[in-house]
């Protein structure tokens, strides 16, 4: 072999040996070629995906917190749990009104506060600044999250917006329905009838699953209202609210009658009771001028001339609540009788009463005020 051939010969062996050495030192896969886009793939797998999972988790927890908040608020008439409405409560049911005053809860504030409390428990590492709602979308502004690995840092917004299938704006409809109901029925003496006619179908007295008949002796009532904005089987919202139907002005006394008892020379006065009245006042007079008059007692008797043997007498009666109706009734005592209808009975005895020339009316009193007189009836034998 000449020199030239020897050089070529050994060069080839050197190349083969070099290739062999490369294969040997480059690892198990002959020549190890790294994955393409290794950093990008690692970024997606180790930064982006964990962030997406965390966001999904935040959304699930926030949605659940939103639904729980809706349930808790509804159970408390929109008020924060364990707080009592400024208008008071019937048992544990918060009143939305009292007299002329309305005490509607601030739903937006309650939702924000209550949800923040729940989220702080379940997601203590995330800070939420604003929590509110728009129709059925429940949303919150969260802080910036960070997923850090050896080769990358990924920042993402931890805010959420979840459709919870329920709108807190339903309270606006409820409040307007409550106002209409109170306006319609507060002035009605027969409250149960008025409510039966005007109560929306989703409103039930006292209980949603087993509603009770509306009692005639109460004017502050608690209602269970079924939500119309959600599917009851998926997300059953039941509002517990109470309304005060106490009339702003005292009802004038109705159904006044007088029956003469010749044996005792007394008059049995009867009239319909008023549960809101603290006491009643019987007025009787021999002034014929009261005939056909009604309204304020003060106004009616302001026209009565002095002298001429005219008198105006009054007797104040306690409003008795318990039924008490003996057959033999004593003079000067008040009874509550049920003889067909519920009536207050009083036996009046006065030697000055002249049949056909004495006129009588009854008023009711509450909180220092007096009702108008509905009219005078003559006392006849």
């Amino acid at each position: 072999m000449n020199t030239k051939a020897t050089v070529i010969y050994w060069t080839l062996f050197v190349i083969i040996a070099a290739v062999g050495l490369v294969f040997f030192f480059s690892g198990q896969d002959l020549i190890s070629v790294q994955s393409k886009g290794l950093w990008s793939v690692n970024f997606l797998q180790q930064n982006y995906l964990p962030a997406e999972k965390e966001l999904l988790q935040i959304h699930i927890i926030a949605g659940k917190a939103g639904r729980e908040t809706a349930l808790v608020l509804a159970e408390n008439g929109g008020f924060f749990p364990l707080t009592v409405s400024p208008c008071g409560a019937i048992g544990e049911v918060n009143l939305w009104n009292q007299g002329e005053r309305w005490c509607f809860p601030d739903i937006r504030d309650s939702v924000s506060f209550l949800t923040k409390e729940k989220l702080a428990d379940q997601l203590p590492e995330v800070l939420f600044s604003t929590i509110s709602y728009d129709k059925t979308i429940f949303y919150g502004r969260g802080d910036t999250g960070e997923i850090k690995t050896d080769t990358a840092r990924y920042f993402f917004d931890r805010s959420f917006a979840v459709d919870i299938g329920y709108s807190f704006e339903e309270y606006v409809d409820l409040q307007s329905a409550a106002q209409i109901l109170v306006t319609q029925c507060r002035t009605e003496r027969d409250l149960p009838s008025c409510l039966e006619q005007n109560l929306p179908v989703t409103w039930k007295y006292h209980s949603c699953p087993s509603p009770e008949p509306i009692p005639s002796n109460l004017r502050t009532l608690d209602f269970c209202v079924l939500s119309t904005g959600v599917q009851p089987d998926q997300f059953p919202i039941q509002y517990e609210i109470a309304l005060d139907f106490t009339p702003l002005e005292i009802f004038s006394v109705a159904g006044i009658t007088a029956a003469y008892d010749g044996d005792t020379n007394t008059y049995e006065i009867r009239f319909l009771p008023d549960n809101e009245a603290e006491e009643y006042t019987i007025y009787y007079t021999n002034w014929k001028g009261v005939q056909g008059k009604s309204g304020s007692i003060e106004d009616i008797f302001s026209d009565m001339p002095a002298g001429f043997g005219l008198y105006q007498k009054s007797i104040t009666l306690e409003n008795t609540v318990e039924l008490n109706c003996p057959v033999e009734k004593e003079k000067g005592k008040v009874y509550l009788c049920v003889e067909g209808t519920l009536e207050v009975v009083y036996v009046l005895s006065d030697q000055e009463i002249v049949s056909g020339e004495t006129y009588l009316t009854v008023t009711s009193n509450r909180d220092g005020g007096e009702s108008a007189a509905s009219g005078f009836i003559p006392l006849m034998e």
Binding site: M1, N2, K4, A5, I8, Y9, L12, I15, I16, V19, F23, D29, L30, I31, S32, V33, Q34, S35, K36, G37, L38, V41, L44, Q45, L49, E52, K53, L56, Q57, H59, I60, I61, G63, K64, V162, D163, I164, G165, Q234, F235
Partner: protein, 137 residues
Amino acid sequence: MILFTKKALLDDLVDLLVTVIIGFFLFFFLNGTLTIGVQQSNAQTLSALTEFKRQDAAINNLNLRMQEGTLTDPLIIEALIDRSKSLGGKTITGCADYETAEDCQRDTLGIYIGTTNYCVWDETDKECDTLALGTSS
């Protein structure tokens, strides 16, 4: 004076042939090994991307279920993502992701095998519902 003897010419010819043959095999050897390396690299990347796509699609599926209000437990997210599989390019995370009655009823990917749920096709809404064992639609 250079003499080209017969032996010298023969040696040169042998050298040439040996060089050509070795070069030829070396070319194929190097080409093959380098190609395999690149292909493996491609396969690794594609596999990683496929896995990413599967997980990302599973998260999207779960987002949809969350918005529908049917996913309320954050603790099962990881298990649901791990269990998701691909069917004809579509990632199936739960019954609701099956598009045909056949796939739904058979639970083609066996998503719910070993769990307490099963899939039932709702003919009215044309969708696949998840039911707990022991219950029926």
